[in-house]
């Protein structure tokens, strides 16, 4: 039994925080009210001033296992999630072997059951080994619970292949997630084409390389009746393309934005800092502003980190050779608070809706909330305390993030899932 007193409760459709006591019995929320009596044997936590919200759900993470365990494992990845207040994730399939068959899905999920304290879901490849040529055996993956099909890391290059996959798999109730870029335009480097790429003397990837595929893949979904989910949108016109398609109302399209695309621009790369190298690349301030507007307006259904760990050695290479990616699970919730909630750019209701509820709806999963009768799946967040993202603090095996050793306002104090306290900090 756990009694949280005087918590400020956040909910997806409520702009104001509701203050109250929350009683949890046997992993379920039994009562909410003010001045609840303390049942005998209950542990009491004074939550005064702190925000209580449902556990977050990250629908775009790279846990690197199998194949790249030096970067991340199921254990370290899921602990990083808990550290950041995330209680469920969807893995991307660009592992080795790629998650493109029932056999690999089964291996990943078995591994997850053994090593993770939070539920882990996985996406599956559209094409075998993400090569964009032959369709992956989709039904076997579906049987094991795969909902999302993606060749993430790359675009499914041949539109005819993707269209056929959409026609085929949509009838199995699956949806498609697209990493968008025309490889011939994007070139091999993740760097926005513009003033910065010119200054650094590295060929850049133009915004249109991403926007063309955003539009192409939505059109393919329109033609086939598939549900298309556009991953990590980084450009203003990309956001506007999605807004336009959504306004038509005749295609099932959802979209995601990553915290780093809201926060950083290509200028942060400065003197070739590889912590700012990811794909899609960081763009300009105008793009950041447009993405934020798109998030507030609901063009983006979900926030997802694209948590992409790489070893210190890999990231210590020169900018051209260093791999693409930024970690996000340890830092996302605190950074959203520090840069957006605290200055009033959006409220906790948006965070709960876009980083907890909608990602679960995307995956057809039950949505936790702080309501009587619900399973206890929540985060207690201190908005006054600070978090310093030291190497020791972060649980991900890799720390390729510009937030390393940065101090931000906000702290995840308590993470509960059912009867288990996953994390407690005071």
């Amino acid at each position: 039994m756990l009694l949280l007193q005087n918590a400020r409760i956040a909910a997806e459709n409520s702009p104001v925080l509701r203050e109250g006591d929350v009683l949890i019995v046997e992993g379920k929320i039994q009562d909410i009210g003010s001045h609840l009596a303390v049942p005998e044997g209950a542990r009491v936590i004074d939550a005064r001033g702190r925000v209580l919200m449902p556990g977050m759900f990250d629908a775009h993470v790279h846990f690197r296992a199998p194949g790249f365990e030096a970067k991340e494992t199921i254990t370290t990845g899921s602990e990083a999630a808990i550290n950041g207040g995330v209680t469920g994730v969807v893995m991307m399939p660009n592992t080795r072997p790629a998650i493109d068959s029932a056999m690999v899905v089964a291996a990943v999920l078995d591994n997850a059951k053994l090593r993770s304290r939070i539920p882990i879901y996985t996406s599956g490849c559209v094409t075998k080994n993400r090569e964009g040529k032959e369709l992956a055996e989709i039904d076997g993956m579906r049987e094991l619970g795969v909902k999302m099909l993606t060749d993430d890391g790359d675009t499914t290059g041949d539109p005819a292949v993707l269209l056929r996959a959409m026609q085929y798999a949509t009838e199995f109730g699956m949806f498609f997630a697209s990493h968008c870029e025309v490889p011939e335009l994007a070139g091999p480097r993740a760097l926005n084409e513009g003033v910065m790429s010119y200054r650094l003397g590295i060929k850049g990837s133009p915004a249109c390389a991403e926007e063309i595929i955003i539009d192409r893949d939505i059109r393919l979904a329109h033609a086939s009746g598939a549900h298309i989910h556009i991953q990590h949108v980084s450009t203003k016109l990309g956001m506007e393309t999605i807004r336009w398609w959504k306004s038509r109302g005749d295609v099932k399209v959802t979209a995601e934005v990553a915290p780093h695309h809201l926060l950083f621009t290509d200028e942060h790369i400065g003197d070739y800092d590889t912590n700012y190298k990811m794909n899609p690349p960081l763009r300009t301030q105008a793009d950041c502003d447009a993405l934020l507007a798109g998030l507030v307006d609901g063009v983006f259904d979900i926030i997802a980190t694209d948590h992409a760990p790489h070893t210190p050695f890999e990231k210590a290479q020169d900018f051209i050779n260093a791999p693409n990616g930024i970690t996000g699970l340890d830092t996302a919730l605190v950074s959203l608070h520090h840069f957006f909630v605290q200055p009033g750019k959006f409220g906790w209701d948006l965070v709960v809706k876009r980083y907890s509820a909608e990602p679960r709806r995307l995956m057809d999963l039950p949505v936790p909330s702080i309501e009587v009768g619900q399973v206890a799946e929540f985060v207690l967040f201190d908005t006054e305390a600070e978090t310093t993202f030291t190497r020791e603090f972060m649980k991900s095996k890799s720390q390729n993030t510009p937030f390393i050793n940065q101090t931000l306002r906000g702290r995840v104090d308590l993470v509960v899932l059912g009867t288990e306290i996953l994390l407690e900090r005071s």
């Binding site: 010119y198 200054r199 590295i202 003197d271 912590n275 210590a316 020169d318």
Partner: protein
């Protein structure tokens, strides 16, 4: 104002530039004397680390170092472990262990000399990195221009060619502008990016560029080897539209313009054969001045300083978020 490394022009202060150009004048005076050597760097070692083929720059640095009495070693990249899969990082550690005083680096990857500089106590000189910077080329260009116009402010330099892939265009333009010289570009739309520096005019047409009345025409080498896709249809067409043809050379002669080129030249592409005999061609002056400039740079830099406990890039300066403060 001691500096350990020379990595770019962008971070050089005006006083540093003036100092280097003045020093170069003194070094150049040596060239006409029977003993061209001075003991400035006696007992010091210079390592030449060229990952890209280069004859001129390599030789120029080598001559410069030897005239300063330094000991010069060539790190033979073709035969080194780099081709055996050793990472750049390990090579840097190896170099640091050799305790060389100066490292002159050329590499096809932008930013690599800076990375080496952060991890070694040696003075690192960028001898050209990708399409990023080539600071000693810029300095020798400025020196060459100042020999013709001791006060170059207000003079105009028209740079023609592949701006997009050119580290020379970047470094030289930056430096000339710092000296008050106007710079304009002329070249194919696919090779002169719209997002280049806003302070540089861009011409699309040769006649319009001439009407701007430049004092110098600076031709860039057309680098077919850097082009992953085609940027213009043919070298012949390039020559016809942007090259110095015989007719254009006549106009240049009548206007009394100087011609510069970082070399090596592609005859029949950037320029016709006759340009090589043009009385106001400064191409050979550039080569000679390159040695003086590189002597001045080697003499100026101060190796040593902080022990370079290799701060990996991922632990570098924390970012600031000025745009996010509410």
């Amino acid at each position: 104002m001691a500096r350990k490394d020379l990595l770019d022009i962008a971070s050089l202060h005006r006083e540093e530039i003036e100092f280097l150009l003045d020093q170069s004048t003194s070094f150049k005076e040596l060239f006409t004397q029977s003993v061209k050597k001075v003991p400035a760097l006696a007992g010091k070692s210079v390592l030449m680390l060229f990952y890209e083929p280069s004859t001129r720059t390599h030789t120029s640095f080598e001559v410069a170092a030897k005239r300063l009495s330094a000991e010069v070693t060539n790190f033979n990249v073709a035969q080194s472990s780099i081709t055996k899969g050793e990472s750049v990082r390990e090579t840097i550690e190896t170099l640091q262990a050799m305790r060389t005083d100066y490292i002159v680096v050329r590499h096809s990857r932008s930013g690599l000399p800076g990375m080496i500089a952060r991890q070694t106590t040696a003075s690192v000189i960028n001898a050209g990195d990708g399409a990023h910077e080539h600071p000693t080329q810029a300095l020798l260009d400025a020196f060459t221009i100042k020999e013709k116009f001791p006060d170059p402010r207000g003079k105009k330099v028209l740079i023609i060619g592949d701006i997009l892939h050119s580290r020379v265009a970047r470094s030289t333009s930056t430096l000339l502008q710092k000296l008050g010289i106007e710079v304009a570009y002329l070249g194919p739309g696919s090779l002169v990016p719209k997002y280049g520096p806003a302070t540089i005019r861009r011409f699309t047409d040769y006649q319009a560029a001439m009407a701007w009345e430049p004092d110098f025409v600076y031709l860039l080498r057309v680098q077919m080897e850097r082009q992953d896709v085609q940027f213009f249809p043919s070298l012949r067409e390039y020559h016809r539209i942007y090259g110095i043809t015989n007719t254009r050379l006549e106009e240049i002669r009548q206007r009394g313009l100087y011609i510069m080129h970082p070399g090596p030249v592609n005859r029949g592409v950037e320029l016709c054969d006759a340009v090589m005999d043009y009385e106001r061609s400064l191409i050979n002056n550039q080569v000679e001045n390159g040695i003086a400039i590189r002597m001045a740079v080697l003499d100026w830099l101060t190796p040593g300083g902080e022990a370079p406990k290799s701060a990996p890039t991922y632990e570098r300066a924390l970012p600031t978020f000025p745009h996010l403060t509410a």
